[in-house]
């Protein structure tokens, strides 16, 4: 992943239910539609999350991954982590203690600056010569 793409930190509302979740998703949707979205959800204010809220989080990560991006969670309260575990969602998200750690994690595993542009079977790899020899 190219580190030049910005990391966006977004605060999750205190309640992530059907009503609040829809409003939250409308807010985050434009970010998810960018190229390679890199989003950190600051869950420090999050106190109540239900099945609808979990579904919205799943929808967010699904949209981000479709575009080769990722959504990471930060500052999640123990109660919210317990709910994520109960729903088996915890393994889908990377969860960090602080927003800074989550932001740093995007830079830590950055891909090489010069991406490979040529396929391995192209002529420049001299596959033909290797075969002839």
């Amino acid at each position: 992943m190219n580190p030049s793409y910005p990391v966006v930190v977004m605060e999750v509302p205190s309640a992530l239910n059907n009503l609040e979740g829809q409003a939250f998703f409308q807010e985050i949707q434009p970010l998810l539609e960018t190229d390679r979205p890199r989003i950190v959800l600051d869950c420090s204010q999050l106190q109540h999350v239900d099945s609808a809220g979990i579904e919205i989080l799943l929808h967010c990560i699904e949209e981000a991954m479709k575009r080769d991006g990722d959504v990471k969670l930060a500052a999640v309260s123990p109660a919210s982590v317990a709910i994520l575990e109960l729903m088996r969602v915890d393994r889908l998200f990377e969860i960090f203690d602080t927003v800074e750690e989550a932001t740093r994690s995007f830079h830590a595993v950055a891909a090489p600056e010069t991406p490979q542009t040529l396929p391995w079977y192209s002529g420049n790899y001299r596959l033909g010569e290797a075969k002839a020899s």
Binding site: D50, P78, A82, I83, E85, M87, R88
Partner: protein, 354 residues
């Protein structure tokens, strides 16, 4: 030289209350932890049985009306026990000891419901008689226990309300055996794990259908569910397809573990329905409440599809609109078929892994 016992059952010490990380006091269960079913029977019932087996002639259970109302099944189970409903159970102990003295009972055990101790009770009594101090308090490695032997005639010296104010005069009896205090719902989990691992003498109810797997009367376990030893499945509990119960987990009576749910290192207390495709790990669950021991937090689940008390909503299987589950409708014998060999085509039909 008769023996008596006074068992004090109360929630005054917040034994059933757990403080969440948000500082709110929330009860996981409405009754004292000693009255909660543990592997089929409440701890207090096991303790009373232990007392009766040791030759105690008269057992009195002192409790308040509020506590007793939350333990409706207790009265039916304790047929040999006199239950006294009082405003303050601790202050009623002295009165009860004086009555014992009048009835010719010389010594009596006095204990709270928050102690589970495996010890030779008669040895405790003999020690008390030899000490000649009137009061003997039990200790273990962690300190004093709410378990005494007292001379009934000397009851005035006994002040349970102050919890050991008379300790200066009391003899100390050290219990080297298995002792567990029930001060937190997590203690239930610990004692269940100890029992299933064989660390203590407490045994689950029901039959051991495979080594380490205990199944109580009327339990229904689907062929595609997996139970990994050691584990306990309680009376009239249903474990449905693709569910997994593992790592010293216990499911108490009248529960339902729905499709694909994993119960790992957890205890599901009585009358709890756990919904489909959930992951209950390192937790104690009761109704719509889940205490995560890993995160030290108590969750209240509002969505009844996720977790709820069992039997409140209509029973889907019998289409009973009243929601009342008729026990007679369930087979008396467990539906588990340990001897039946799975068909070749049935993937995952390996019901139990011992």
């Amino acid at each position: 030289m008769g023996l008596g016992a006074v068992v004090v059952l109360t929630m005054e010490k917040d034994t059933g209350v757990y403080a969440g990380t948000d500082g709110q006091q929330q009860p996981l269960v409405a009754q004292p932890l000693g009255c909660v079913d543990v592997l089929g029977r409440p701890i207090v019932e096991r303790t009373i049985q232990h007392l009766l087996n040791a030759g105690v002639e008269k057992v009195t259970l002192l409790t308040s009306k509020d506590v007793f109302r939350n333990c409706p099944s207790l009265a039916n189970r304790l047929d040999k026990v006199e239950v006294q409903l009082v405003d303050n159970p601790y202050s009623a102990v002295n009165h009860m000891l004086s009555r014992y003295a009048e009835d010719g009972i010389d010594q009596a055990f006095v204990l709270a419901d928050n102690v589970y101790a495996e010890t030779d009770l008669l040895d405790f009594v003999y020690f008390h008689r030899e000490a000649k101090k009137g009061i003997t308090r039990a200790f273990d490695q962690e300190g004093p226990l709410d378990l005494w032997v007292v001379d009934c005639a000397d009851f005035s010296r006994f002040d349970l309300e102050k919890m050991g104010a008379a300790d200066g005069d009391a003899a100390s009896y050290f219990i080297a055996g298995y002792v567990h205090r029930l001060l937190h719902p997590g203690d239930l989990r610990a004692i269940i794990a100890d029992s299933l691992r064989g660390i203590c003498a407490m045994r689950p109810c029901g039959q051991e259908v495979r080594p380490g797997i205990w199944v109580d009367e009327g339990a229904e376990i689907d062929r595609r569910a997996r139970i990994v030893a050691p584990a306990y499945i309680g009376c009239h509990t249903r474990v449905r397809e693709d569910a997994l119960v593992t790592r010293c987990s216990s499911i108490e009576r009248d529960c339902c573990i729905d499709f694909g749910t994993i119960v790992e290192d957890s205890s599901i207390l009585a009358n709890t329905r756990v919904g489909i495709w959930l992951d209950v790990r390192h937790a104690v669950a009761s109704g719509n409440k889940l205490l995560s021991l890993k995160h030290d937090v108590l969750l209240r689940i509002a969505d009844p599809n996720v977790m709820r008390f069992n039997g409140i909503l209509p029973n889907e299987e019998t289409n009973d609109p009243s929601g009342n589950r008729e026990r007679a409708a369930h087979p008396v014998v467990s539906k588990i078929q340990p001897e039946a060999a799975p068909e070749r085509w049935q993937l995952g039909a390996n019901l139990i892994q011992g």
